[in-house]
């Protein structure tokens, strides 16, 4: 894999390139399911690419390919050497390389989703990699998680609480989660989903479409090779 062009010099200002959306969150909360749902909902209207950061092998990338929600060639897998948070925060080189390779091969793109490997509540994306980020929790982790905060919960542009269908079974109080999240997020949005029941995660997709629209209004519509210096 490589971004095989003449003069590869990352331009961080974002002018004329795709919005890069990070999706992070703990193991099993539904990051890959959300990525697939966004591809289902947004694929018809936006030009997409996906980068997965698998903990082992290419599990998440393979799941997305099997789901048939996006051209398999538009999915790239990055390996993270036991440290998924390092690859999205401290040393983003391999992820940037993957994003730019997708833009080079299939560009111009409107949206590149970078799905992190499952990690803990402190994992967030570097601003050098993701322009906006979603943090995904699920109700089965307990309704106290939003109150505990952590950079993912407090600073993500959107907090998604997934698997609401399980709330009665695990004794999670969605009202408590909503109230606690609002208290630590300073007005930033929170959406509750059950991707098992809503295969397109439509409320989240609507938020993402709005963010992409604002991004293009501010930085211009992506056009070929425009992100090169």
């Amino acid at each position: 894999m490589s971004a095989n062009h003449d003069d590869h010099h990352d331009a961080p200002d974002g002018h004329g390139r795709a919005l890069r959306l990070g999706i992070g969150g703990p193991v099993g909360s539904g990051k890959t399911a959300l990525t697939a749902a966004l591809c289902r909902s947004l694929g018809p209207s936006l030009r997409l690419g996906v980068v997965t950061n698998d903990i082992y092998t290419t599990e998440d990338a393979d799941f997305l390919r099997r789901a048939g929600v996006i051209d398999p060639d538009r999915i790239m897998a990055v390996q993270t050497g036991c440290c998924p948070h390092t690859a999205i925060r401290d040393d983003i080189a391999a992820n940037i390389d993957a994003v730019e390779t997708l833009e080079e091969r299939f560009g111009p793109l409107d949206l590149v989703i970078v799905e992190s490997g499952g990690d803990n509540l402190t994992a967030t994306f570097s601003r050098g990699l993701a322009d906006r980020q979603i943090f995904v929790l699920d109700v089965s982790g307990g309704d106290k998680v939003p109150r505990k905060g952590g950079p993912g919960v407090t600073s993500a542009d959107l907090l998604v609480v997934n698997k609401t269908d399980l709330a009665p079974m695990v004794g999670a109080d969605l009202t408590v989660m909503s109230r606690d999240a609002a208290a630590v997020r300073d007005g930033k949005p929170v959406l509750f989903t059950s991707i098992r029941e809503d295969r397109g995660a439509h409320s989240v997709a609507e938020w993402v479409a709005g963010v992409v629209g604002s991004w293009q209004h501010e930085h211009g519509t992506p056009h070929s090779h425009s992100y090169l210096a």
């Binding site: 490589s2 062009h5 590869h8 082992y56 092998t57 993270t80 050497g81 036991c82 391999a94 390389d97």
Partner: protein, 270 residues
């Protein structure tokens, strides 16, 4: 072109042929280039190195490395072979970036699409890269080396903008081999060829050591004691003839790299 390089390297076709300032002119000869060396050798350098184990992951999986003693033997072998070759390549790349002239270039290697005055530099980079290719038997290791080289050039160009790095990126758009990228980056960071070689020797073993700590839960202090005892100086030598660069092979490392690519569950790229 993004900025100017210290020392006016010939690699970008710049007119200046001024050699790098002698270390003594700073008044602190021991410090010259050291900050650049520390940054380049730091495992926190954001250039993708954290996800490469240099064969250690496969060696751990197969049981070839199961404790600190195995790891010490593995690292000594890695330093004496891959480390020695990497140090020589990094020395050569850094010296070439400094030098006003290149060794004689085989015209067959020169790309017809390049235009003067950068053609000579581009051809020289490709020649040195071909020398590296010839010294890495395993395709998996060649791929890992180029991937790390590409990421390092990308990172170094933003940290130390220099025409020499732009020229290298243009000459080898899929990525130069890592030691060559390291040598060129070391030049851009103000390092001497000896310092570039030291960075190459050191980073040839630190990634594998860290991977073993993560995978086997080894005591990190024990592993750093091992790292502190390795003979880095012994693999560093001046290089003046690219065709005579060392070519110490390590068949076990080649096999580990090839097996690793075929292993279904892996955490590291290489």
């Amino acid at each position: 072109m993004d900025g100017t390089a210290p020392g006016g390297p010939a690699l970008n076709g710049a007119e200046s042929t001024t050699p790098p300032a002698p270390a003594a002119s700073s008044g602190m000869p021991a410090m010259h280039g050291l900050a650049g060396l520390l940054l380049l050798a730091d495992s926190r350098l954001p250039a993708g190195g954290h996800a490469h184990s240099g064969g250690a992951e496969e060696a751990c999986r197969t049981g070839a490395i199961s404790g600190p003693e195995d790891l010490a033997r593995f690292l000594r072998g890695r330093l004496a072979t891959a480390g020695r070759v990497a140090a020589a390549l990094a020395w050569s790349a850094c010296a070439a970036a400094h030098a006003p002239k290149f060794p004689d270039i085989d015209p067959d290697i020169e790309s017809p699409t390049d235009s003067a005055p950068t053609a000579d530099a581009g051809a020289a980079w490709r020649l040195l890269d071909a020398e590296a290719d010839a010294r890495i038997a395993s395709p998996a290791q060649r791929l890992a080396s180029r991937t790390q080289g590409r990421l390092l050039i990308r990172t170094a160009r933003r940290i130390w903008p220099a025409p020499v790095l732009t020229g290298l990126a243009r000459a080898l758009p899929d990525g130069a081999h890592h030691p060559i990228a390291l040598g060129a980056a070391a030049h851009a960071a103000g390092c001497t060829p000896e310092q570039a070689a030291m960075a190459a020797a050191y980073t040839s073993v630190t990634g594998a050591a860290t991977a073993a700590v993560r995978l086997l839960g080894l005591d990190p202090v024990t592993v750093h004691h091992v790292l502190a005892g390795l003979p880095y100086d012994s693999v560093i030598a001046e290089q003046h003839d690219w065709s005579a660069l060392p070519a110490h092979a390590a068949p076990a490392l080649d096999l580990l790299a090839e097996q690793h690519l075929r292993t279904e569950v892996r955490l590291f790229v290489s």
